[in-house]
């Protein structure tokens, strides 16, 4: 279809994040950015490029290699009035920050009788795609869905990334903001300046009637590709992008399943104990007798990820694997 209108601007996921940071820092001088190599280097995945030059080293702080301190100090700054956005370079290094996140940030508001709160964001990046190996490729979102007091988001598109980052920065609770190394270069519509996306609301990225596929982060695109493939076979797939990992928007998921009668959850994290388990469990609890087929998960098997792009590709569910899982589901 040819149009005479100017096409909407497109941006990459990386640019969308950077714009959200720029705009929020401009709008609110309490917003600061801190982490390893976030300044002149511009962040390991180049998200914070240009921030130092624009906002100076009082608001864009290169820290020593001290992950626990980064999150703990962000929390301290948040408690006394700041709105820090801390960056932890790889999700795998979040292992070094668990006390600050889990025992401190998540608990502080309740534990201290509501006197303190922690308006902070911790940006991390996870997932496969670079053969980065066992210690640089893990997807660990499920842990944080099991920590009351945290909010956790994992956007899949530039628009959602921008909108959710803005909402996360404006939120008064600690938000773990999960990016994916495979998404930074992905393009999408530029949602413009004032776009926000509410935390806690899933998004139907593709409506369909035959089967509900739930995914988040990079896996949303694999699921959408699978859905395209299957459209040719006359299978009409609904793809739900969770967007928020905690708190889960199960209303949207359950409503969809009630319509389609079939549920597949696709995720990159290893299967056992992944977030898929929670989604399937809630579906089983709430949809007894309403599903036409057993609910299913497709996920990376319970392995240690090799630093080897060939093996990596063979392990993580791809378009074909998801498509074939959906076919099985629809047939059964």
């Amino acid at each position: 279809m040819i149009s005479t209108l100017t096409p909407p601007r497109t941006v990459t996921y990386r640019e969308a994040l950077r714009e959200a940071l720029f705009e929020e820092m401009e709008a609110d001088d309490r917003v600061i950015v801190m982490g390893e190599d976030v300044g002149k280097y511009g962040g390991a995945y180049a998200v914070s490029k240009g921030l130092l030059e624009r906002f100076g080293d009082r608001r864009v702080i290169d820290t020593p290699m001290s992950e626990a301190l980064i999150v703990g100090a962000a929390l301290g700054a948040a408690v006394v009035g700041g709105r820090p956005v801390a960056e932890i370079m790889y999700m795998d290094f979040v292992t070094l920050t668990m006390d600050a996140l889990v025992n401190q940030a998540a608990k502080l508001h309740f534990m201290f009788g509501g006197q303190l709160s922690a308006p902070m964001v911790v940006r991390v990046q996870q997932g496969v795609g670079r053969g980065a190996g066992a210690q640089h490729s893990q997807s660990l979102e499920a842990w944080f869905a099991h920590v009351p007091g945290l909010k956790v988001v994992a956007p899949s598109t530039p628009a959602d990334a921008k909108g959710l980052l803005k909402s996360s920065i404006r939120d008064d609770d600690p938000v773990l903001f999960i990016e994916h190394k495979g998404l930074y270069a992905r393009k999408g519509t530029d949602p413009g300046r004032e776009h926000t996306v509410p935390i806690g609301v899933a998004d139907v990225k593709r409506p369909g009637v035959d089967v509900t596929v739930v995914a988040w982060s990079n896996m949303v695109h694999t699921a959408l590709d699978a859905a395209e493939l299957l459209a040719d076979d006359g299978i009409d797939v609904e793809v739900i992008d969770l967007r928020t990992i905690a708190p889960l928007d199960m209303q949207t998921v359950l409503a969809s399943c009630r319509r389609t009668g079939r549920l597949l959850v696709a995720h990159e994290a290893c299967q056992t104990g992944g977030l898929g388990a929670e989604i399937i469990a809630q579906a089983a609890e709430h949809l007894h007798g309403l599903l036409h087929a057993p609910p299913r998960r497709i996920a990376t098997p319970d392995v240690v990820l090799p630093a080897n792009t060939t093996l990596e590709r063979a392990l993580v569910p791809d378009t074909d694997a998801i498509a074939s899982a959906i076919r099985d589901l629809v047939r059964s």
């Binding site: 006390d99 401190q104 534990m111």
Partner: protein
């Protein structure tokens, strides 16, 4: 490293200050004795309770040197820090008894005290867990040019935690306005200071971070106050952090169940002679404070504690309903 000497040095003759400090030392001592009584009467809401009896001069000397706008963070052994910073006696007692009138509305008990209105940013049950929080508060206040100072209290044991290192190192690089107060009571549960570290001088440790450090008699409230004022002054003038090493002693067990059987009785007795309350008492006596004055202080404190416990007892128990609604500061529609 500091070697305790038998008497308190009368380096300061300002008796107004000394009497204020004494009153506060005794207030904390009596409050914790009261808490131990409540504990024996099974009136506490939690089984966790660590008193700081013997260590009061640390809390009192440091807090006396702070300004109202400054911040502190504290430990599992934090009753003294809370009171010395100006926390209400009733908020402490009610908290320990699990009441709504408590500092944390009865949810935190002994290890989690807080009073944001006086810059008390919370005590913490994770040893060392609050040190980066204090550091972040110092970062923020420095970035804003507010001239506030943060004092972070922690024990000798906490110095072995990685987060101590990361925090001090970052504060040093950024020259943050923070005083790291090492409340060195010689023991971390059953671990003596000599087995916590092979370098027992806090001053030398500080050099390893390129910052100021001192080893001070933590039983001498005046010495503590003087060293704290120096450190706080440096911090406020933008000269960066200090590691303030204060040698003190926990007179009782680590927690209520601990008979300290790992400690040498002779060591305990040696330190008992250096009771910070007694030392301040003696110095006041030397400055001609009379029995009547001491008795009046006793009575005032006893009355305050009794009133606080009464307030606590009359306060409703912590409410279960808000356990659900208070998890988030910004509740979301989506939550179930």
């Amino acid at each position: 490293m500091f070697a305790p000497n038998p008497t308190m040095a009368a380096t300061e003759t300002d008796t107004e200050t000394l009497s204020r400090l004494y009153r506060e030392l005794l207030r904390i001592r009596r409050a914790e004795e009261g808490i131990l009584e409540l504990l024996l009467k099974n009136k506490l809401s939690s089984t966790m309770c660590h008193v700081s009896i013997g260590q009061e001069a640390v809390a009192v000397g440091v807090c006396d040197a702070l300004e109202p706008d400054d911040y502190i963070t504290s430990t599992h052994r934090g009753h003294g820090h809370f009171l010395a910073r100006g926390g209400a006696m009733s908020a402490l007692m009610a908290e320990l008894m699990g009441r709504e009138a408590g500092a944390c509305r009865g949810r935190g008990s002994s290890m989690h005290l807080v009073d944001a209105s006086i810059g008390h940013l919370g005590s913490n049950a994770i040893v060392g867990g609050h040190i980066p929080i204090a550091t972040g508060a110092a970062l923020w206040t420095a970035l804003r040019g507010e001239h506030r100072v943060v004092a972070s209290f922690f024990g000798d044991g906490a110095t072995s935690e990685g987060i101590f290192h990361e925090s001090v190192n970052f504060a040093a690089v950024q020259r943050l306005p923070i005083v790291f107060v090492v409340e060195n009571n010689q023991w971390a549960m059953s671990l003596p200071w000599a087995k916590s570290t092979a370098q027992q001088s806090i001053e030398v440790k500080a050099e390893g971070y390129g910052i100021a450090g001192v080893d001070v008699d933590g039983q001498d409230v005046l010495a503590v106050r003087t060293a704290a004022r120096d450190a706080i002054g440096r911090a406020r003038r933008g000269e960066g952090p200090t590691l303030l090493g204060l040698s003190t002693y926990r007179f009782l067990g680590h927690s209520r169940a601990d008979p300290s059987s790992y400690r040498d009785k002779a060591e305990e007795e040696k330190w008992r002679l250096r009771d910070p309350v007694l030392l301040a008492h003696n110095l006041l006596m030397a400055h001609d404070f009379d029995e009547e004055w001491f008795e009046q202080v006793d009575r005032d404190i006893a009355a305050e504690i009794a009133a606080a416990i009464e307030i606590a007892e009359n306060s409703p128990p912590a409410s279960i309903g808000e356990v659900f609604s208070d998890i988030y500061a910004t509740p979301l529609e989506g939550i179930r």
